[in-house]
């Protein structure tokens, strides 16, 4: 065995880079979730114009998380970020029942996008810390998630504020990174 190949073996394999897209309506909690993942302060958050990006190391992966603003005016720009996405995370404000229909429509449109076809999707039923939050099961039913057949999917209840449930969701993401159906 040559010296070079020994050196090569010693050098540990670099983390696999994963591109994660964080989408959802405005005020769903995407930026809070992103900051929580990066262990940053979440008390001074402002509405996102454009996008934020952060890299997080997790379970041998380098997760590059793209948090895109959810305001209606900038939703047409979402498609500029679809290319090469490994996992889609869709965030829902579980306490904002008035907008369940709107958020369901946006999700359905995303699942129809050709560039996102077969991409695993994790739905975070966020804001479970609020008393008025709908349980994940109710949201799954309302959004007809059981009809999704062209990809792996999961719904996870969480609170980005207290971080409860967030790690469980991310574990699912890491397990299913390579489950993209061609």
């Amino acid at each position: 065995m040559g010296l070079l190949s020994i050196l090569r073996k010693l050098k540990s394999a670099p983390d696999q880079e994963v591109r994660i897209l964080l989408l959802g309506l405005d005020n769903a909690g995407k930026t809070t979730l992103l900051k929580q993942l990066a262990s940053e302060d979440i008390s001074h958050i402002t509405p996102t114009q454009g996008f934020n990006i952060k890299s997080v190391q997790s379970q041998g992966f380098k997760l590059n998380v793209w948090d895109i603003g959810g305001q209606r005016k900038i939703r047409p720009y979402w498609r500029n970020y679809f290319e090469n996405t490994d996992v889609l995370i869709y965030v829902i404000d579980s306490a904002d029942r008035k907008r369940f229909e709107e958020t369901g429509q946006e999700l359905a449109e995303l699942l129809d996008e050709e560039k996102l076809s077969g991409v695993p999707v994790l739905i975070f039923a966020n804001k479970q810390d609020l008393l008025t939050a709908a349980p994940a099961s109710e949201i799954a039913e309302g959004l007809n998630l059981h009809t999704i057949r062209d990809r792996v999917w999961q719904i996870q209840s969480c609170s980005a504020l207290t971080s409860e449930g967030v790690q469980d969701g991310m574990n699912w993401v890491c397990k299913n990174v390579n489950a993209k159906k061609k």
């Binding site: 979440i42 402002t46 720009y77």
Partner: protein
Amino acid sequence: MLISMWRYLYRHFFRFWVKWIFRMVTRKCELQRICEGFVGGERTHKIENALTLSKNQVLQNATSVNRSEVEECVEDIMKEKNIKPKKDRRFKICMKACLLQISGYKQLYLDVENVRKRPYDSNNQHHEELLMKLWRLLMPNEKLKARITKQWSDIGFQGDDPKTDFRGMGLLGLVNLVYFSENYTNEAHRILSHSNHPTLGYSYAIVGINLTEMAYSLLKSDALKVHFYNSVPSSPTMEHFHQFYCYLFIEFDKFWFEEEPESIMYFNQYREKFHEKIKRLLLDYRVVLTLKI
């Protein structure tokens, strides 16, 4: 490593001897030398450092004295340092002004933090009135058709109810927006119409709330100190914070259109660039960031 070792040695050992030698040579204490040798924000800043580093309890406590106790505190310092009012007439006036600025800045941060911590509450009549006032100031010729309406996006809120857009900035975001629209109505209208630009446009209210965050974090990190020490001869107040916010808004709008970003999607990158620019300006001891209208 070497630098931090030197700093440690200087603070705990050399500083004392350097001061002692100066005192012997000039027959004046450090505070007197600063009062004579410097002016403006630099002087207040140096006085603040000297007081903070002092081992004397009276001097240390002077940085967080109440407004009403400033006079008494200066007397105590003069007694402690054996400064005769007759020999150094200017010292008392200078110290008083510095202490008002130093303690005023700390109080201003507490006041601003108090407003920020209050979340926007749509059940609070005062909050709702402020929101309606913002609409009337920005859109004097158009009536709101309902409390919850898509019209809110005309002044740059995200959805049909602004209440969720204030987030971590709480009431402070709204109070800043209203102050700007009320006191600089023409500028606010001009910027609002800029923000509707077909390619370079941005969401007016949301950008305003992001600029509140910028002003707040500059205040919190003490980056605004020298600016206030230079521009406010006594204790800075909420009014001065609002004025700085208005400066930021007008300058940001100029900056955005000069930079011509590809689209609103690059907002955060340009926001950071603008933030860095302001932080650089604030490093200058002579800095005064006021509106040029």
